[in-house]
């Protein structure tokens, strides 16, 4: 019983890693530009497709080479591609609306998200079918009594922890990191201080999209199978997680991601009939936060100046 509980906890953590990585992206974009980038989930699924295509392509081209290196190269390229996709989307559909009504970027990013996923469905070979992510880690894991930890799960934990650490260092200790924080505090003041706002925003989008890409790879490694329409719901959950955690706070995004993941996992595991309506529980959590604590767990109260 207890071991099962630990395993469910582990399942929750795995899911939480994915949601958090996506949520961090949302929070970064929102903190900087006050925009909600609804197509973020589609960056995540795009990366899964790109990663698969590249790994298969590379291993096909160089069959004799060491596959680990090819896999790493493939993932790197896919991550970079996704990063650039993020930058392009920002320039094309978010930048034009910087001074407009906030509803514009919401709608344009939603539309762009639809476009990305439909393009994948139509133009990727057999795009409407579920795709298999290439298996990177050997089948197997560690047994600690009845508790079983798969090799790929260990890898996911390590990678996610490293990413969190890197994000923290990036924001606190690097020049660009402080520029990002500056822009999110006051856009105009930052540009007056000589910060190249457009460039910093591009870098932020590149990073955010890359994080989504990593989440996409984790999804592929953990669940193995992915499909073009999984991006939208992942994006919405990631967004909800960042709202629950507090928009604008990276640590909040992580908290929110894990909270939503745990709610879903435990609902599926312990509530009879819960696995069919697991999403309802996490959305109800979101609604409760939105009604009673819209700033989230760690968000700051936003005072609107007139």
């Amino acid at each position: 019983m207890f071991v099962t509980f630990l395993m469910q906890l582990k399942n929750g953590i795995m899911l939480g890693c994915q949601y958090s990585l996506i949520a961090i992206g949302f929070t970064l974009f929102f903190g900087m530009l006050n925009v909600v980038v609804f197509c973020h989930g589609d960056f995540y699924i795009f990366a899964a497709f790109a990663g698969t295509a590249l790994i298969l392509g590379l291993t096909g081209l160089f069959p004799a080479s060491v596959s680990t290196i090819l896999v790493l190269i493939g993932l790197m390229i896919a991550m970079v591609l996704t990063g650039f996709l993020g930058v392009i989307v920002e320039k094309a559909t978010i930048k034009p609306f910087r001074k407009s009504h906030p509803v514009m970027p919401i709608l344009s990013t939603l539309a762009v998200g639809t476009i990305i996923e439909q393009l994948l469905k139509i133009f990727y070979p057999a795009g409407s079918n579920p795709q298999m992510f290439p298996s990177i880690f050997k089948q197997g894991g560690i047994h600690i009594g009845a508790f079983y930890l798969q090799t790929n799960e260990i890898a996911i934990l390590i990678v996610t922890a490293v990413i969190f650490l890197l994000m923290y260092i990036f924001l606190k200790n690097t020049k660009i990191g402080s520029q990002v924080i500056a822009i999110s505090q006051d856009f105009e003041a930052a540009s007056m201080m000589g910060i190249d706002v457009d460039k910093t925003i591009s870098i932020t989008f590149f990073i955010g999209a890359s994080l989504a890409a990593i989440a996409g790879f984790i999804n592929g490694i953990y669940f193995t199978v992915f499909r073009y329409d999984m991006g939208a719901i992942a994006g919405i959950k990631g967004f909800s997680a960042s709202v629950v955690g507090g928009l604008g706070s990276i640590f909040g995004a992580i908290l929110g991601g894990f909270l939503m993941a745990f709610v879903e996992t435990f609902a599926a595991a312990y509530i009879p009939g819960g696995s069919a309506i697991r999403d309802v529980f996490s959305f109800i959590v979101v609604l409760l936060f939105l009604i009673f604590r819209p700033t989230g767990i760690l968000g700051q109260r936003i005072v609107e100046k007139v």
């Binding site: 399942n11 079983y148 790929n152 193995t224 999984m230 996992t265 595991a269």
Partner: protein, 391 residues
């Protein structure tokens, strides 16, 4: 005033030209259409296209035999496995005066949505692939328009449960099903079939179609430790569940299901993890006379897609309708009656329909996934003892 009349003249000219074009292109000769409705797009497109091709083959063959003074045409409509699209398709079929009968559906929910439409229009609907029990038990009983050539869902489940418990001596089961009506029906009937034969069900859980995170459930199943895991639902989730459960180390549990999994996509998506999965599919025509000719004709027709598990049923459905047309002519109302009371020798045997419109033929085949392909059990290495199922 001059400008006024010039613009107006131009407008009128343009419009009359368009109208001429439109009406000129509508020349038609005497054609009799039979509607085929099925999932031509969407997750079950493989089944739908295979059936569609077989249907078309039957019509082409009938035209080649020159049995009728008119040309037979298939009106292929897509239901995309979605009831609302199916309803659109059904409306299209019944509102076209050249359509005399229809054959439809692989997904039972779609059939449930369109059946009232065909009944109201007094047009025959021969079901070629949907196995929901109530389609005939309830609707076919009330309305003569509805007939079905493929077996019902419970036939397969009974067969499977019998094999698992009585022949292979498995005792403990866990059922996971999707929350569609197909999945729920599978759960209901498999549960009954297992318990009837003294099997023990350790747990039942439902998932939404589209779910991809099965880990919490897999952990649950691991704790309960059944011998057999039955999945009631369709291909994608079945394959996902299989992949994840193998990854999590549950390789000593037999994975099983019915015809929802009888799609090559299962093997493609699940990859190596598919090995050793046992399922059923309806029909067993390979034993009968017409089968080799059908296979040959299908190959020569060079269709893009394979005939799938239901091609045979669609082929027989088409031929039943054609035989009925031969008897009473292309008349919607007369066809309803003629089809219901027909006696027709098809690929799967001699068809007659009972008072609920269900075919009196029923046979089920057992399949096992071997080296990435579905192989008939009796031909497999497993049956011969060369490989063994998980215990």
């Amino acid at each position: 005033m001059k400008r006024f009349s010039l613009k107006l003249l131009f407008l009128v000219l343009f419009l009359s030209l368009s109208l001429v074009v439109v009406f000129a292109t509508g020349q038609k000769e005497k054609v009799v259409k039979i509607a085929f409705i099925g999932p031509l797009t969407g997750p079950n497109a493989a089944q739908g296209m295979g059936a569609r091709n077989s249907f078309e083959l039957a019509i082409r063959q009938a035209n080649a035999r020159k049995e009728f003074p008119f040309k037979l045409e298939m009106l292929a409509l897509d239901d995309a496995s979605q009831p609302s699209v199916g309803v659109n398709a059904a409306n299209k079929a019944v509102s076209d005066p050249e359509v005399v009968a229809a054959s439809g559906h692989w997904n039972s929910p779609v059939a449930r949505a369109t059946i009232p439409i065909f009944h109201q229009a007094h047009m025959a609907l021969v079901i070629w692939g949907a196995i929901g029990v109530d389609l005939t038990d309830k609707y076919g009983k009330m309305w003569p328009e509805i007939t079905r050539v493929c077996p019902k869902l419970n036939t397969e489940n009974e067969f499977l449960a019998n094999w698992l418990i009585n022949k292979e001596h498995y005792k403990t089961f866990y059922i996971i099903h999707d929350t569609s009506s197909y999945g729920k029906d599978c759960e209901t009937f498999m549960k009954a079939a297992i318990e009837k034969r003294g099997g023990q069900i350790l747990g039942i859980d439902g998932v939404n179609v589209g779910e991809k995170d099965f880990m919490p459930l897999i952990t649950k199943v691991k704790e309960k430790n059944p011998q057999v895991l039955y999945y009631g639902g369709v291909v994608t989730e079945a394959a996902l569940l299989r992949v994840q459960m193998v990854k999590a180390g549950l390789t000593n549990i037999l994975y099983t299901g019915i015809s929802g999994l009888a799609d090559q996509k299962f093997n493609e998506v699940a990859g190596k993890a598919a090995e050793g999965t046992v399922i059923t599919k309806p029909g067993n025509p390979e034993k009968l006379a017409g089968w080799p000719a059908f296979v040959k004709a299908y190959k020569e027709a060079k269709f893009h897609e394979p005939m799938g598990a239901y091609g045979q049923y669609a082929y027989d459905a088409a031929n039943i309708i054609i035989a009925a047309i031969k008897k009473v002519g292309p008349d919607r109302a007369k066809l309803v009656d003629a089809i219901r009371h027909i006696k027709y020798k098809g690929l799967l045997g001699t068809y007659t329909f009972d008072n609920t419109g269900q075919t009196t033929l029923s046979s089920v085949t057992l399949l096992v996934s071997q080296d990435g392909k579905w192989v008939e059990w009796k031909d497999s290495d497993y049956a011969k003892g060369k490989r063994s199922l998980p215990r």
